[in-house]
């Protein structure tokens, strides 16, 4: 069996780490660099930054965050959000990213995947698929944080991006994202069995059992985790973050530790849990 990668996923808006539900209703959690440094030092196998607004005027802060992180974290860093051109990829790599995640630009122009993977190598190009389950049971790909329907069916799209040269696929269940009800093991397994490139599951975990389920039932090669570890970081390291964050952090300062369906766990606890289920990972 593979060593399953635990990827710390950080959604970024301007200078802040944010987290929403179903990719919406973003709350500010803190400085992404602080979280990233903590995860790097505490067992993360990779880091994944997603710029959730990706508007051009905020790009500078993203590049600063990438550079600051790359200087101190010697693990792979993937960056997604608003990457539309070969020059965008070059800029993000130059800032210190190792891989880029592409969604909208790939849907609009599938040949962009081909061009990018040819230019930078397949292993640099991750295609991000944001899936929403339709009433008839089929999954369709969305763009713009799950807001815009593309009419592209997810399974045929996954097969196509593999053929075009993508090195990995990250499948986000928009339905489950931020909810704590668990990953969508069904669509993850369908993609993982269809393609021969690694599949990263993203969206939905709220407790430890969800992590072994997405590997056993969802056949994921890697798992992206956000809320579960962010809330753990906040619960344990809140004092470090005072006065360092802009935006809406009143709920952080209120000392509220009830995170709804999400039970905070550290990366070490997640790894310990999956190891107990005979799943291999880097200790």
């Amino acid at each position: 069996m593979n060593n399953i990668r635990i990827i710390a996923r950080l959604d970024i808006k301007g200078p802040n780490l944010v987290k929403g539900i179903h990719l919406e209703g973003l709350r500010v959690l803190g400085k992404p660099e602080d979280f990233a440094r903590y995860y790097y030092g505490h067992g993360a196998d990779e880091l994944f930054y997603q710029d959730v607004v990706a508007s051009l005027y905020e790009r500078n802060s993203l590049h600063e965050i990438i550079s600051a992180t790359a200087k101190k974290s010697f693990i792979p860093l993937t960056v997604g959000g608003g990457i539309r051109t070969i020059q965008d990829i070059r800029d993000v790599l130059r800032a210190g990213a190792d891989k880029v995640a592409i969604n909208t630009a790939a849907i609009r122009n599938p040949d962009f995947i081909k061009e990018a993977s040819h230019k930078f190598g397949s292993s640099t190009i991750v295609v991000s698929i944001e899936a929403i389950k339709q009433p008839d049971g089929k999954y369709f790909a969305f763009v713009d944080n799950g807001r815009e329907h593309t009419g592209v069916e997810v399974l045929s799209w996954a097969k196509k991006v593999e053929e075009l040269g993508a090195g990995e696929i990250v499948i986000t269940s928009v339905d489950n994202e931020g909810s704590g009800i668990g990953y969508d093991n069904q669509i993850t397994a369908q993609i993982a069995e269809l393609v021969s490139i690694p599949v990263i599951a993203h969206g939905g975990p709220g407790k430890l059992q969800h992590f072994h389920e997405v590997i056993e039932k969802g056949k994921a090669d890697a798992i992206a985790v956000a809320s579960v570890i962010h809330y753990d970081f906040i619960a344990n390291r809140q004092s470090d973050m005072e006065n360092r964050t802009e935006g809406n952090i009143s709920y952080l300062k209120s000392g509220r530790t009830n995170f709804g369906k999400i039970q905070p766990s550290s990366i070490a606890e997640i790894k310990q849990h999956i190891t107990q289920h005979h799943i291999a990972c880097r200790p």
């Binding site: 060593n3 010697f74 190792d98 930078f120 292993s123 690694p198 890697a222």
Partner: protein, 215 residues
């Protein structure tokens, strides 16, 4: 003393993380496409991700192929990373057959697709995997002297190098049922299939060993 390190830029892959690792260790590293910069350096690193054919084409285009040969011939320390290991061999099966730098005899091949007990081993291999010492004490006085068999490092690749002469294989790694060469050492040339600069401080330490051994 600060050492002059040239990171060979042939317009493929992420060179910045390699530079970052060197700087973390207190050395200045220059990313360069110029043969004269490389020849004037104490150390040279050949990184790279991407396609073997494109890499060779770019190395030739920038006049780097002969600079690399000259650098190695002078006995200066050279380190390859990932594609930088594969390029050292004489040819690759990628897209037919492409000639390599021919510093190390052998070929580059693609991973077979393996399904074992219902689990499929994806290609590219992207994961932290372990390195093994091929025989006892092989790692003494090598850049892997800080490592022990079973330690984890980060891999991302679809192709692997198969040197003709086993004595140059410094470590092996298993993917599914498949065992392959994950690093090589031949005189002043050291190369890893994994990314030490992406393997935490553990990996950065491999650069440190390399820089201190060859001085």
């Amino acid at each position: 003393m600060t050492k002059k390190i040239a990171i060979i830029d042939y317009q493929l892959g992420n060179l910045f993380s390699v530079k970052q690792a060197c700087e973390y260790l207190g050395h200045s590293a220059t990313i360069t496409t110029k043969p004269e910069d490389i020849l004037a350096s104490d150390y040279a690193i050949l990184p790279g991700v991407g396609a073997f054919g494109d890499a060779m084409e770019n190395l030739d285009k920038f006049g780097l192929t002969s600079a690399i040969h000259e650098f190695v011939k002078k006995g200066k320390p050279m380190m390859g990373v990932c594609l930088g290991l594969q390029l050292l061999l004489d040819s690759s099966d990628e897209f037919g057959s492409t000639k390599g730098l021919n510093i190390l005899q052998g070929t580059v091949k693609k991973f077979p697709l393996q399904v074992i007990d219902g689990h499929s081993y994806k290609v590219p291999q992207i994961q932290w995997n372990t390195i093994q010492e091929p025989q006892p004490d092989k790692w003494g006085n090598t850049p892997l002297q800080c490592c022990k068999s079973g330690d984890f490092v980060y891999f991302v690749h679809s192709f692997y190098a198969e040197p003709t002469d086993n004595q140059y294989i410094l470590s092996t790694t298993r993917y599914g049922n498949f065992e392959y060469c994950s690093s090589v050492l031949k005189d002043n040339v050291f190369a890893t299939q994994f990314h030490p600069e992406k393997s935490g401080l553990y990996g950065v330490n491999i650069y440190k060993e390399w820089l201190s051994l060859f001085n």
